[in-house]
Symmetry: C2
Protein backbone atom coordinates (compact mmCIF):
# COMPACT_ATOMS: atom_id res chain seq x y z
CA UNK A 1 0.00 0.00 0.00
CA UNK A 2 1.39 3.40 -0.95
CA UNK A 3 2.67 5.65 1.83
CA UNK A 4 3.22 9.40 1.98
CA UNK A 5 6.94 8.77 1.58
CA UNK A 6 6.19 7.16 -1.79
CA UNK A 7 4.15 9.97 -3.34
CA UNK A 8 5.24 13.25 -1.66
CA UNK A 9 3.29 16.36 -0.72
CA UNK A 10 2.13 17.83 -4.02
CA UNK A 11 0.77 14.53 -5.34
CA UNK A 12 -0.97 13.92 -2.01
CA UNK A 13 -2.73 17.29 -2.13
CA UNK A 14 -3.87 16.66 -5.71
CA UNK A 15 -5.52 13.43 -4.56
CA UNK A 16 -7.22 14.99 -1.53
CA UNK A 17 -8.72 18.10 -3.08
CA UNK A 18 -11.71 16.37 -4.62
CA UNK A 19 -12.74 14.57 -1.43
CA UNK A 20 -14.11 17.54 0.52
CA UNK A 21 -16.68 20.24 -0.35
CA UNK A 22 -15.14 23.40 -1.74
CA UNK A 23 -16.45 26.83 -2.63
CA UNK A 24 -18.14 26.77 -6.01
CA UNK A 25 -16.55 30.13 -6.84
CA UNK A 26 -13.35 30.53 -4.84
CA UNK A 27 -11.46 33.79 -5.15
CA UNK A 28 -8.24 31.76 -5.49
CA UNK A 29 -7.70 28.12 -6.31
CA UNK A 30 -5.99 25.67 -3.97
CA UNK A 31 -2.24 25.86 -4.00
CA UNK A 32 -1.70 29.60 -3.54
CA UNK A 33 0.10 31.01 -0.50
CA UNK A 34 -3.20 31.70 1.25
CA UNK A 35 -6.86 30.93 0.72
CA UNK A 36 -8.78 34.00 -0.42
CA UNK A 37 -12.37 34.52 0.75
CA UNK A 38 -14.51 37.10 -1.04
CA UNK A 39 -17.04 38.45 1.46
CA UNK A 40 -18.33 40.99 -1.04
CA UNK A 41 -16.61 44.13 0.26
CA UNK A 42 -13.55 46.02 -0.92
CA UNK A 43 -11.32 43.95 1.36
CA UNK A 44 -10.74 40.23 0.85
CA UNK A 45 -10.24 37.80 3.74
CA UNK A 46 -7.03 35.74 3.63
CA UNK A 47 -6.72 32.45 5.53
CA UNK A 48 -3.51 30.60 6.21
CA UNK A 49 -2.41 27.63 8.24
CA UNK A 50 1.19 26.59 8.76
CA UNK A 51 2.89 24.08 11.05
CA UNK A 52 6.33 23.79 12.63
CA UNK A 53 7.36 20.28 13.57
CA UNK A 54 10.24 19.54 15.92
CA UNK A 55 13.15 17.78 14.13
CA UNK A 56 11.67 18.89 10.76
CA UNK A 57 11.40 22.70 11.01
CA UNK A 58 13.40 23.26 14.19
CA UNK A 59 15.74 21.25 16.40
CA UNK A 60 15.10 20.63 20.09
CA UNK A 61 18.17 22.79 20.77
CA UNK A 62 16.74 25.85 18.95
CA UNK A 63 15.92 28.77 21.27
CA UNK A 64 12.17 28.76 21.95
CA UNK A 65 12.04 32.51 21.30
CA UNK A 66 13.38 31.96 17.76
CA UNK A 67 10.93 29.10 17.12
CA UNK A 68 8.05 31.38 18.11
CA UNK A 69 9.34 34.16 15.87
CA UNK A 70 9.63 31.72 12.97
CA UNK A 71 6.12 30.37 13.54
CA UNK A 72 4.65 33.87 13.21
CA UNK A 73 7.02 35.14 10.50
CA UNK A 74 6.30 32.24 8.11
CA UNK A 75 2.62 33.16 8.13
CA UNK A 76 3.28 36.90 7.83
CA UNK A 77 5.45 36.06 4.81
CA UNK A 78 2.54 34.23 3.18
CA UNK A 79 0.24 37.22 3.64
CA UNK A 80 2.94 39.47 2.16
CA UNK A 81 3.13 37.16 -0.86
CA UNK A 82 -0.56 37.84 -1.61
CA UNK A 83 -0.12 41.61 -1.23
CA UNK A 84 -1.88 41.55 2.15
CA UNK A 85 -1.25 41.94 5.86
CA UNK A 86 -1.81 39.82 8.98
CA UNK A 87 -4.88 40.26 11.20
CA UNK A 88 -5.81 37.54 13.75
CA UNK A 89 -3.74 34.54 14.82
CA UNK A 90 -4.62 31.25 16.51
CA UNK A 91 -1.85 29.11 18.02
CA UNK A 92 -2.24 25.37 18.43
CA UNK A 93 0.41 23.68 20.54
CA UNK A 94 0.74 19.89 20.65
CA UNK A 95 3.53 19.35 23.15
CA UNK A 96 4.96 16.49 25.22
CA UNK A 97 4.16 16.76 28.95
CA UNK A 98 7.86 17.11 29.80
CA UNK A 99 8.00 20.47 27.96
CA UNK A 100 8.93 23.23 30.41
CA UNK A 101 6.62 26.17 31.06
CA UNK A 102 9.63 28.39 30.50
CA UNK A 103 10.04 27.03 26.97
CA UNK A 104 6.42 27.72 26.09
CA UNK A 105 6.54 31.23 27.55
CA UNK A 106 9.63 32.03 25.48
CA UNK A 107 7.92 30.61 22.39
CA UNK A 108 5.03 33.02 22.99
CA UNK A 109 7.41 35.94 23.55
CA UNK A 110 9.07 35.27 20.20
CA UNK A 111 5.71 34.93 18.54
CA UNK A 112 4.51 38.15 20.13
CA UNK A 113 7.67 39.99 19.10
CA UNK A 114 6.99 39.22 15.46
CA UNK A 115 3.37 40.37 15.71
CA UNK A 116 4.43 43.59 17.44
CA UNK A 117 6.81 44.32 14.58
CA UNK A 118 4.68 43.30 11.59
CA UNK A 119 1.10 43.54 12.84
CA UNK A 120 -1.56 41.08 13.89
CA UNK A 121 -3.24 40.01 17.11
CA UNK A 122 -3.51 36.74 18.97
CA UNK A 123 -7.20 35.77 18.95
CA UNK A 124 -7.06 32.35 20.54
CA UNK A 125 -5.51 28.96 20.58
CA UNK A 126 -5.56 25.42 21.71
CA UNK A 127 -3.14 23.25 23.62
CA UNK A 128 -2.91 19.48 23.73
CA UNK A 129 -0.48 16.92 24.99
CA UNK A 130 1.34 14.51 22.69
CA UNK A 131 2.76 11.21 24.00
CA UNK A 132 6.15 11.52 25.71
CA UNK A 133 8.86 11.24 23.08
CA UNK A 134 6.68 12.46 20.20
CA UNK A 135 7.76 15.51 18.25
CA UNK A 136 6.28 18.85 19.31
CA UNK A 137 3.97 20.40 16.71
CA UNK A 138 3.18 24.13 16.57
CA UNK A 139 0.34 24.87 14.20
CA UNK A 140 -0.54 28.46 13.37
CA UNK A 141 -3.75 29.59 11.73
CA UNK A 142 -4.32 33.21 10.83
CA UNK A 143 -6.55 35.60 9.01
CA UNK A 144 -5.17 38.38 6.90
CA UNK A 145 -6.65 41.04 4.69
CA UNK A 146 -5.89 42.50 1.29
CA UNK A 147 -7.68 45.19 -0.63
CA UNK A 148 -9.25 43.76 -3.75
CA UNK A 149 -7.04 45.73 -6.13
CA UNK A 150 -3.82 44.67 -4.38
CA UNK A 151 -4.39 40.91 -4.42
CA UNK A 152 -1.60 39.05 -6.23
CA UNK A 153 -1.97 35.36 -7.14
CA UNK A 154 0.42 32.72 -8.44
CA UNK A 155 -1.72 31.84 -11.41
CA UNK A 156 -1.58 35.08 -13.38
CA UNK A 157 1.88 35.14 -14.98
CA UNK A 158 2.20 35.73 -18.72
CA UNK A 159 5.03 34.33 -20.84
CA UNK A 160 7.66 37.03 -21.28
CA UNK A 161 7.22 38.42 -17.75
CA UNK A 162 10.49 38.94 -15.89
CA UNK A 163 11.32 37.03 -12.68
CA UNK A 164 12.67 38.80 -9.60
CA UNK A 165 13.60 37.78 -6.08
CA UNK A 166 14.25 39.84 -2.97
CA UNK A 167 17.21 39.20 -0.68
CA UNK A 168 19.69 36.38 -1.18
CA UNK A 169 19.08 32.66 -1.60
CA UNK A 170 20.59 29.56 0.01
CA UNK A 171 22.13 28.61 3.31
CA UNK A 172 19.15 29.40 5.52
CA UNK A 173 20.00 26.37 7.67
CA UNK A 174 22.91 28.37 9.12
CA UNK A 175 20.46 30.59 10.99
CA UNK A 176 18.32 32.67 8.66
CA UNK A 177 15.53 30.07 8.75
CA UNK A 178 14.94 30.98 12.41
CA UNK A 179 15.27 34.76 12.34
CA UNK A 180 14.32 35.92 8.86
CA UNK A 181 12.45 39.14 8.15
CA UNK A 182 9.15 38.57 6.35
CA UNK A 183 9.10 40.86 3.31
CA UNK A 184 5.82 42.55 4.12
CA UNK A 185 7.18 46.07 3.73
CA UNK A 186 8.61 45.25 0.29
CA UNK A 187 5.41 43.48 -0.80
CA UNK A 188 3.25 46.41 0.23
CA UNK A 189 5.44 48.78 -1.77
CA UNK A 190 5.37 46.48 -4.79
CA UNK A 191 1.59 46.08 -4.96
CA UNK A 192 1.19 49.84 -4.61
CA UNK A 193 3.82 50.95 -7.14
CA UNK A 194 4.63 48.04 -9.49
CA UNK A 195 1.96 45.45 -8.97
CA UNK A 196 3.51 42.07 -9.82
CA UNK A 197 1.76 39.84 -12.38
CA UNK A 198 2.32 37.01 -9.85
CA UNK A 199 4.02 36.57 -6.51
CA UNK A 200 4.77 33.91 -3.89
CA UNK A 201 7.17 33.46 -1.03
CA UNK A 202 10.07 31.00 -1.23
CA UNK A 203 9.61 28.37 1.45
CA UNK A 204 10.61 25.06 -0.15
CA UNK A 205 13.41 26.43 -2.34
CA UNK A 206 13.46 28.21 -5.71
CA UNK A 207 13.61 24.86 -7.54
CA UNK A 208 10.35 23.60 -6.14
CA UNK A 209 8.54 26.90 -5.69
CA UNK A 210 9.26 28.39 -9.13
CA UNK A 211 8.00 25.14 -10.66
CA UNK A 212 4.76 25.63 -8.68
CA UNK A 213 4.41 29.26 -9.83
CA UNK A 214 4.94 28.22 -13.44
CA UNK A 215 2.50 25.31 -13.16
CA UNK A 216 -0.18 27.53 -11.56
CA UNK A 217 0.10 29.88 -14.55
CA UNK A 218 0.61 27.16 -17.18
CA UNK A 219 3.94 28.70 -18.17
CA UNK A 220 7.55 27.61 -18.50
CA UNK A 221 10.57 29.57 -17.22
CA UNK A 222 14.26 30.08 -17.80
CA UNK A 223 16.61 31.02 -14.98
CA UNK A 224 19.67 33.25 -15.45
CA UNK A 225 21.77 31.08 -13.17
CA UNK A 226 24.73 33.47 -13.19
CA UNK A 227 22.48 36.21 -11.78
CA UNK A 228 21.13 34.32 -8.75
CA UNK A 229 21.74 36.40 -5.59
CA UNK A 230 23.74 33.87 -3.55
CA UNK A 231 23.98 34.08 0.20
CA UNK A 232 27.74 34.44 0.88
CA UNK A 233 29.30 30.97 0.97
CA UNK A 234 26.51 29.32 -1.05
CA UNK A 235 26.57 27.76 -4.50
CA UNK A 236 23.86 28.21 -7.14
CA UNK A 237 22.66 24.66 -6.38
CA UNK A 238 22.18 25.62 -2.74
CA UNK A 239 20.36 28.81 -3.74
CA UNK A 240 17.98 26.67 -5.81
CA UNK A 241 17.59 23.76 -3.42
CA UNK A 242 18.08 24.78 0.21
CA UNK A 243 14.63 26.20 0.95
CA UNK A 244 13.35 28.37 3.81
CA UNK A 245 14.60 31.57 2.20
CA UNK A 246 11.26 33.34 2.82
CA UNK A 247 12.05 35.84 0.11
CA UNK A 248 9.52 37.12 -2.41
CA UNK A 249 9.55 35.56 -5.88
CA UNK A 250 7.56 37.72 -8.29
CA UNK A 251 7.08 38.59 -11.94
CA UNK A 252 6.41 41.87 -13.72
CA UNK A 253 5.85 42.86 -17.31
CA UNK A 254 9.12 43.41 -19.18
CA UNK A 255 8.29 47.06 -19.91
CA UNK A 256 8.36 47.90 -16.17
CA UNK A 257 11.75 46.38 -15.32
CA UNK A 258 13.89 49.48 -15.68
CA UNK A 259 11.53 51.70 -13.69
CA UNK A 260 11.18 49.11 -10.95
CA UNK A 261 14.93 48.76 -10.57
CA UNK A 262 15.39 52.52 -10.50
CA UNK A 263 12.62 53.11 -7.96
CA UNK A 264 13.34 50.23 -5.52
CA UNK A 265 13.74 52.07 -2.20
CA UNK A 266 14.97 49.28 0.11
CA UNK A 267 18.72 49.64 0.29
CA UNK A 268 19.00 46.80 2.81
CA UNK A 269 16.98 44.35 0.68
CA UNK A 270 18.58 43.35 -2.62
CA UNK A 271 16.28 43.10 -5.66
CA UNK A 272 17.54 40.79 -8.40
CA UNK A 273 16.30 39.85 -11.84
CA UNK A 274 16.81 36.10 -12.08
CA UNK A 275 15.05 34.96 -15.25
CA UNK A 276 12.06 35.08 -17.53
CA UNK A 277 8.77 33.24 -17.92
CA UNK A 278 8.32 31.25 -21.13
CA UNK A 279 5.48 29.60 -23.03
CA UNK A 280 4.42 26.27 -21.51
CA UNK A 281 6.72 23.50 -22.75
CA UNK A 282 9.59 25.92 -23.29
CA UNK A 283 12.19 26.80 -20.72
CA UNK A 284 13.90 24.49 -18.29
CA UNK A 285 13.31 22.41 -15.19
CA UNK A 286 15.19 22.76 -11.93
CA UNK A 287 16.37 20.05 -9.58
CA UNK A 288 16.20 20.62 -5.84
CA UNK A 289 13.87 21.85 -3.14
CA UNK A 290 12.41 20.47 0.02
CA UNK A 291 10.14 17.46 -0.28
CA UNK A 292 7.88 16.83 2.70
CA UNK A 293 7.42 13.21 3.83
CA UNK A 294 10.58 12.19 2.02
CA UNK A 295 12.62 14.07 4.62
CA UNK A 296 15.34 15.00 2.18
CA UNK A 297 16.20 17.43 -0.53
CA UNK A 298 15.77 16.12 -4.02
Amino acid sequence: MKTLRDIGEDALIDRLIGLVPRDANPAAGPGDDCAVIDQGGSTLLLLKTDALVEHVHFLPTAPAHAVGWKAAARVVSDFAAMGGKPEHFLITLALPPETTVDWVENLYRGFGGCLEKFGGFLAGGETSGVPAGSAAVISIAATGSVSRENLVLRSTVKPGDILFVTGTLGGSIHGKHLDFTPRIREAEWLVTHFKPSAMMDLSDGLGKDLARLAAASACGFRIERENLPLTPGCTADQAIGDGEDFELLFTIHESLVGNLQAAWPFTDTPLTRIGKMEEAGNGETLEGGWEHFQASHQ
Copy 2:
Protein backbone atom coordinates in the same frame (compact mmCIF):
# COMPACT_ATOMS: atom_id res chain seq x y z
CA MET B 1 11.97 23.71 36.25
CA LYS B 2 8.20 23.42 35.98
CA THR B 3 6.77 21.36 33.12
CA LEU B 4 3.36 21.34 31.48
CA ARG B 5 2.55 18.15 33.40
CA ASP B 6 3.02 20.14 36.63
CA ILE B 7 0.67 23.04 35.87
CA GLY B 8 -1.97 21.79 33.39
CA GLU B 9 -3.72 23.50 30.50
CA ASP B 10 -5.80 26.26 32.11
CA ALA B 11 -2.93 27.58 34.22
CA LEU B 12 -0.66 27.50 31.18
CA ILE B 13 -3.09 29.57 29.10
CA ASP B 14 -3.42 32.12 31.90
CA ARG B 15 0.37 32.59 31.87
CA LEU B 16 0.61 32.90 28.09
CA ILE B 17 -2.18 35.38 27.39
CA GLY B 18 -0.22 38.46 28.37
CA LEU B 19 2.82 37.64 26.25
CA VAL B 20 1.34 38.38 22.82
CA PRO B 21 -0.49 41.41 21.36
CA ARG B 22 -4.25 41.13 21.60
CA ASP B 23 -7.15 43.16 20.27
CA ALA B 24 -7.75 46.20 22.46
CA ASN B 25 -11.51 45.65 22.16
CA PRO B 26 -12.19 41.99 21.48
CA ALA B 27 -15.78 40.92 20.89
CA ALA B 28 -15.16 37.97 23.24
CA GLY B 29 -12.46 37.36 25.78
CA PRO B 30 -10.03 34.45 25.60
CA GLY B 31 -11.43 31.17 26.84
CA ASP B 32 -14.74 31.05 24.96
CA ASP B 33 -15.48 28.28 22.47
CA CYS B 34 -14.39 30.47 19.56
CA ALA B 35 -12.71 33.80 19.06
CA VAL B 36 -15.17 36.46 17.90
CA ILE B 37 -14.05 39.14 15.46
CA ASP B 38 -16.23 42.20 14.98
CA GLN B 39 -15.71 43.46 11.42
CA GLY B 40 -18.40 46.09 11.83
CA GLY B 41 -21.26 44.44 9.93
CA SER B 42 -24.34 42.57 11.11
CA THR B 43 -22.43 39.27 10.98
CA LEU B 44 -19.55 38.47 13.32
CA LEU B 45 -16.56 36.37 12.26
CA LEU B 46 -15.84 33.32 14.42
CA LEU B 47 -12.39 31.71 14.51
CA LYS B 48 -11.57 28.31 15.92
CA THR B 49 -8.61 25.99 16.02
CA ASP B 50 -8.69 22.45 17.34
CA ALA B 51 -6.24 19.56 17.23
CA LEU B 52 -6.54 15.78 17.27
CA VAL B 53 -3.46 13.93 18.49
CA GLU B 54 -2.93 10.22 17.93
CA HIS B 55 -2.97 8.25 21.21
CA VAL B 56 -4.66 11.24 22.92
CA HIS B 57 -7.82 11.92 20.88
CA PHE B 58 -7.84 8.78 18.74
CA LEU B 59 -6.06 5.43 18.67
CA PRO B 60 -3.99 4.22 15.72
CA THR B 61 -6.65 1.52 15.25
CA ALA B 62 -9.51 4.04 14.83
CA PRO B 63 -10.99 4.11 11.32
CA ALA B 64 -9.52 7.07 9.45
CA HIS B 65 -12.98 8.02 8.21
CA ALA B 66 -14.19 8.39 11.82
CA VAL B 67 -11.11 10.43 12.79
CA GLY B 68 -11.82 12.81 9.92
CA TRP B 69 -15.47 13.12 10.93
CA LYS B 70 -14.45 13.84 14.51
CA ALA B 71 -11.92 16.47 13.44
CA ALA B 72 -14.62 18.41 11.59
CA ALA B 73 -17.47 17.74 14.03
CA ARG B 74 -15.55 19.05 17.06
CA VAL B 75 -15.14 22.41 15.34
CA VAL B 76 -18.74 22.48 14.08
CA SER B 77 -19.78 21.84 17.70
CA ASP B 78 -17.80 24.90 18.84
CA PHE B 79 -19.51 27.13 16.29
CA ALA B 80 -22.87 25.75 17.41
CA ALA B 81 -21.98 26.64 21.00
CA MET B 82 -21.65 30.32 20.00
CA GLY B 83 -24.95 30.31 18.11
CA GLY B 84 -23.14 30.30 14.76
CA LYS B 85 -22.37 28.10 11.80
CA PRO B 86 -19.23 26.86 10.02
CA GLU B 87 -17.82 28.59 6.94
CA HIS B 88 -14.24 27.85 5.78
CA PHE B 89 -11.91 25.13 7.01
CA LEU B 90 -8.15 24.65 6.84
CA ILE B 91 -6.66 21.23 7.56
CA THR B 92 -3.09 20.85 8.81
CA LEU B 93 -1.74 17.32 8.80
CA ALA B 94 1.53 16.45 10.56
CA LEU B 95 1.98 12.77 9.74
CA PRO B 96 4.73 10.17 9.87
CA PRO B 97 6.07 9.21 6.44
CA GLU B 98 4.86 5.63 6.86
CA THR B 99 1.22 6.81 6.88
CA THR B 100 -0.62 5.27 3.93
CA VAL B 101 -2.21 7.41 1.24
CA ASP B 102 -5.35 5.33 1.72
CA TRP B 103 -5.53 6.41 5.40
CA VAL B 104 -5.27 10.08 4.52
CA GLU B 105 -7.87 9.80 1.76
CA ASN B 106 -10.30 8.15 4.17
CA LEU B 107 -9.61 10.86 6.74
CA TYR B 108 -10.55 13.47 4.13
CA ARG B 109 -13.68 11.53 3.15
CA GLY B 110 -14.85 11.50 6.79
CA PHE B 111 -14.02 15.19 7.12
CA GLY B 112 -15.88 15.97 3.92
CA GLY B 113 -18.89 13.92 5.01
CA CYS B 114 -19.28 16.07 8.11
CA LEU B 115 -19.03 19.29 6.10
CA GLU B 116 -21.58 18.03 3.59
CA LYS B 117 -24.01 17.36 6.41
CA PHE B 118 -23.47 20.46 8.58
CA GLY B 119 -22.08 23.05 6.17
CA GLY B 120 -18.68 24.56 5.54
CA PHE B 121 -16.07 24.40 2.80
CA LEU B 122 -12.46 23.33 2.70
CA ALA B 123 -10.41 26.44 1.87
CA GLY B 124 -6.88 25.09 2.18
CA GLY B 125 -4.42 23.23 4.25
CA GLU B 126 -0.89 22.26 4.95
CA THR B 127 0.91 18.96 5.22
CA SER B 128 4.17 18.18 6.95
CA GLY B 129 6.06 15.10 7.96
CA VAL B 130 6.78 14.21 11.57
CA PRO B 131 9.65 11.90 12.52
CA ALA B 132 8.89 8.19 12.15
CA GLY B 133 7.32 6.97 15.41
CA SER B 134 5.95 10.38 16.42
CA ALA B 135 2.23 10.76 17.00
CA ALA B 136 0.16 12.04 14.07
CA VAL B 137 -1.37 15.49 14.67
CA ILE B 138 -4.42 16.77 12.79
CA SER B 139 -4.98 20.46 13.39
CA ILE B 140 -8.13 22.11 12.12
CA ALA B 141 -8.67 25.85 11.81
CA ALA B 142 -11.95 27.27 10.66
CA THR B 143 -13.96 30.41 10.27
CA GLY B 144 -17.60 30.55 11.19
CA SER B 145 -20.25 33.24 11.25
CA VAL B 146 -22.97 34.33 13.62
CA SER B 147 -25.42 37.16 13.31
CA ARG B 148 -24.75 39.76 15.96
CA GLU B 149 -28.06 39.19 17.78
CA ASN B 150 -27.56 35.41 17.96
CA LEU B 151 -24.10 35.41 19.53
CA VAL B 152 -24.00 33.52 22.84
CA LEU B 153 -20.97 33.75 25.14
CA ARG B 154 -19.89 31.86 28.27
CA SER B 155 -19.48 34.98 30.33
CA THR B 156 -23.07 36.21 30.50
CA VAL B 157 -24.82 33.91 33.00
CA LYS B 158 -26.76 35.43 35.89
CA PRO B 159 -27.21 33.72 39.26
CA GLY B 160 -30.59 31.98 39.29
CA ASP B 161 -30.41 30.95 35.61
CA ILE B 162 -31.26 27.30 35.00
CA LEU B 163 -28.73 24.84 33.57
CA PHE B 164 -29.63 22.50 30.71
CA VAL B 165 -27.79 19.93 28.63
CA THR B 166 -28.71 18.22 25.39
CA GLY B 167 -28.30 14.49 24.85
CA THR B 168 -26.81 12.13 27.42
CA LEU B 169 -23.51 12.34 29.26
CA GLY B 170 -20.71 9.85 29.91
CA GLY B 171 -19.22 6.84 28.19
CA SER B 172 -18.15 8.56 24.97
CA ILE B 173 -15.01 6.40 24.91
CA HIS B 174 -17.20 3.46 23.84
CA GLY B 175 -17.71 5.06 20.44
CA LYS B 176 -19.64 8.32 20.63
CA HIS B 177 -16.42 10.35 20.79
CA LEU B 178 -15.73 9.31 17.17
CA ASP B 179 -19.18 9.59 15.61
CA PHE B 180 -21.11 12.19 17.58
CA THR B 181 -23.58 14.61 16.01
CA PRO B 182 -22.65 18.24 16.59
CA ARG B 183 -25.72 20.01 17.99
CA ILE B 184 -25.83 22.76 15.40
CA ARG B 185 -29.51 22.23 14.58
CA GLU B 186 -30.46 22.44 18.27
CA ALA B 187 -28.26 25.49 18.85
CA GLU B 188 -29.75 27.33 15.89
CA TRP B 189 -33.24 26.66 17.19
CA LEU B 190 -32.27 27.78 20.70
CA VAL B 191 -30.76 31.12 19.70
CA THR B 192 -33.80 31.84 17.54
CA HIS B 193 -36.51 30.83 20.03
CA PHE B 194 -35.08 30.79 23.56
CA LYS B 195 -31.75 32.54 23.39
CA PRO B 196 -29.58 31.11 26.18
CA SER B 197 -27.97 33.49 28.66
CA ALA B 198 -24.77 31.46 28.12
CA MET B 199 -23.76 28.35 26.18
CA MET B 200 -20.74 26.12 25.52
CA ASP B 201 -20.12 22.63 24.25
CA LEU B 202 -18.98 19.86 26.58
CA SER B 203 -15.57 18.65 25.43
CA ASP B 204 -13.57 18.04 28.61
CA GLY B 205 -16.46 16.77 30.75
CA LEU B 206 -19.21 18.52 32.69
CA GLY B 207 -16.99 18.76 35.79
CA LYS B 208 -14.32 20.80 34.07
CA ASP B 209 -16.46 22.65 31.54
CA LEU B 210 -19.21 23.81 33.91
CA ALA B 211 -16.52 25.16 36.22
CA ARG B 212 -15.19 27.16 33.24
CA LEU B 213 -18.65 28.51 32.38
CA ALA B 214 -19.19 29.56 35.99
CA ALA B 215 -15.74 31.16 36.24
CA ALA B 216 -16.25 33.09 32.99
CA SER B 217 -19.46 34.56 34.43
CA ALA B 218 -18.18 34.93 38.02
CA CYS B 219 -20.95 32.65 39.29
CA GLY B 220 -21.31 29.48 41.32
CA PHE B 221 -23.55 26.53 40.43
CA ARG B 222 -25.42 23.64 41.96
CA ILE B 223 -26.01 20.38 40.06
CA GLU B 224 -29.14 18.24 40.50
CA ARG B 225 -27.10 15.05 40.37
CA GLU B 226 -30.17 12.81 40.32
CA ASN B 227 -31.33 14.52 37.12
CA LEU B 228 -28.15 14.05 35.06
CA PRO B 229 -29.07 12.35 31.74
CA LEU B 230 -26.79 9.33 31.94
CA THR B 231 -25.71 7.42 28.87
CA PRO B 232 -27.02 3.86 29.49
CA GLY B 233 -24.46 1.96 31.55
CA CYS B 234 -22.81 5.09 32.97
CA THR B 235 -22.67 6.41 36.51
CA ALA B 236 -23.10 10.05 37.52
CA ASP B 237 -19.34 10.25 38.11
CA GLN B 238 -18.75 9.15 34.53
CA ALA B 239 -21.30 11.66 33.23
CA ILE B 240 -19.38 14.38 35.08
CA GLY B 241 -15.86 13.20 34.33
CA ASP B 242 -15.63 11.29 31.07
CA GLY B 243 -15.49 14.17 28.61
CA GLU B 244 -15.95 14.29 24.83
CA ASP B 245 -19.75 14.39 25.11
CA PHE B 246 -19.99 17.26 22.61
CA GLU B 247 -23.40 18.16 23.95
CA LEU B 248 -24.60 21.73 24.52
CA LEU B 249 -24.45 23.07 28.07
CA PHE B 250 -26.57 26.23 28.35
CA THR B 251 -28.45 28.45 30.75
CA ILE B 252 -31.75 30.30 30.46
CA HIS B 253 -33.72 32.58 32.74
CA GLU B 254 -35.91 30.62 35.16
CA SER B 255 -39.10 32.20 33.78
CA LEU B 256 -38.53 30.56 30.37
CA VAL B 257 -38.00 27.00 31.56
CA GLY B 258 -41.55 25.71 31.17
CA ASN B 259 -42.02 27.20 27.72
CA LEU B 260 -38.66 25.85 26.54
CA GLN B 261 -39.43 22.35 27.73
CA ALA B 262 -42.85 22.45 26.09
CA ALA B 263 -41.55 23.82 22.79
CA TRP B 264 -38.41 21.66 22.37
CA PRO B 265 -38.98 20.05 18.96
CA PHE B 266 -36.14 17.51 18.78
CA THR B 267 -37.61 14.18 19.80
CA ASP B 268 -34.31 12.38 19.13
CA THR B 269 -32.27 14.79 21.30
CA PRO B 270 -33.08 14.75 25.01
CA LEU B 271 -33.18 18.12 26.78
CA THR B 272 -32.53 17.94 30.52
CA ARG B 273 -32.54 20.48 33.33
CA ILE B 274 -29.49 19.60 35.43
CA GLY B 275 -29.06 22.45 37.92
CA LYS B 276 -28.99 26.13 38.67
CA MET B 277 -26.45 28.95 38.68
CA GLU B 278 -25.68 30.54 42.06
CA GLU B 279 -23.96 33.64 43.37
CA ALA B 280 -20.17 33.42 43.30
CA GLY B 281 -18.94 31.57 46.37
CA ASN B 282 -22.17 29.64 46.72
CA GLY B 283 -22.90 26.30 45.15
CA GLU B 284 -20.58 23.37 44.82
CA THR B 285 -17.45 22.19 43.05
CA LEU B 286 -17.20 19.09 40.87
CA GLU B 287 -14.36 16.61 40.63
CA GLY B 288 -13.50 15.13 37.27
CA GLY B 289 -12.86 16.08 33.67
CA TRP B 290 -10.04 15.74 31.22
CA GLU B 291 -6.76 17.45 32.05
CA HIS B 292 -4.41 17.97 29.11
CA PHE B 293 -0.69 17.35 29.70
CA GLN B 294 -1.48 15.28 32.78
CA ALA B 295 -2.89 12.56 30.51
CA SER B 296 -5.39 11.41 33.05
CA HIS B 297 -8.77 12.23 34.42
CA GLN B 298 -8.78 14.06 37.69
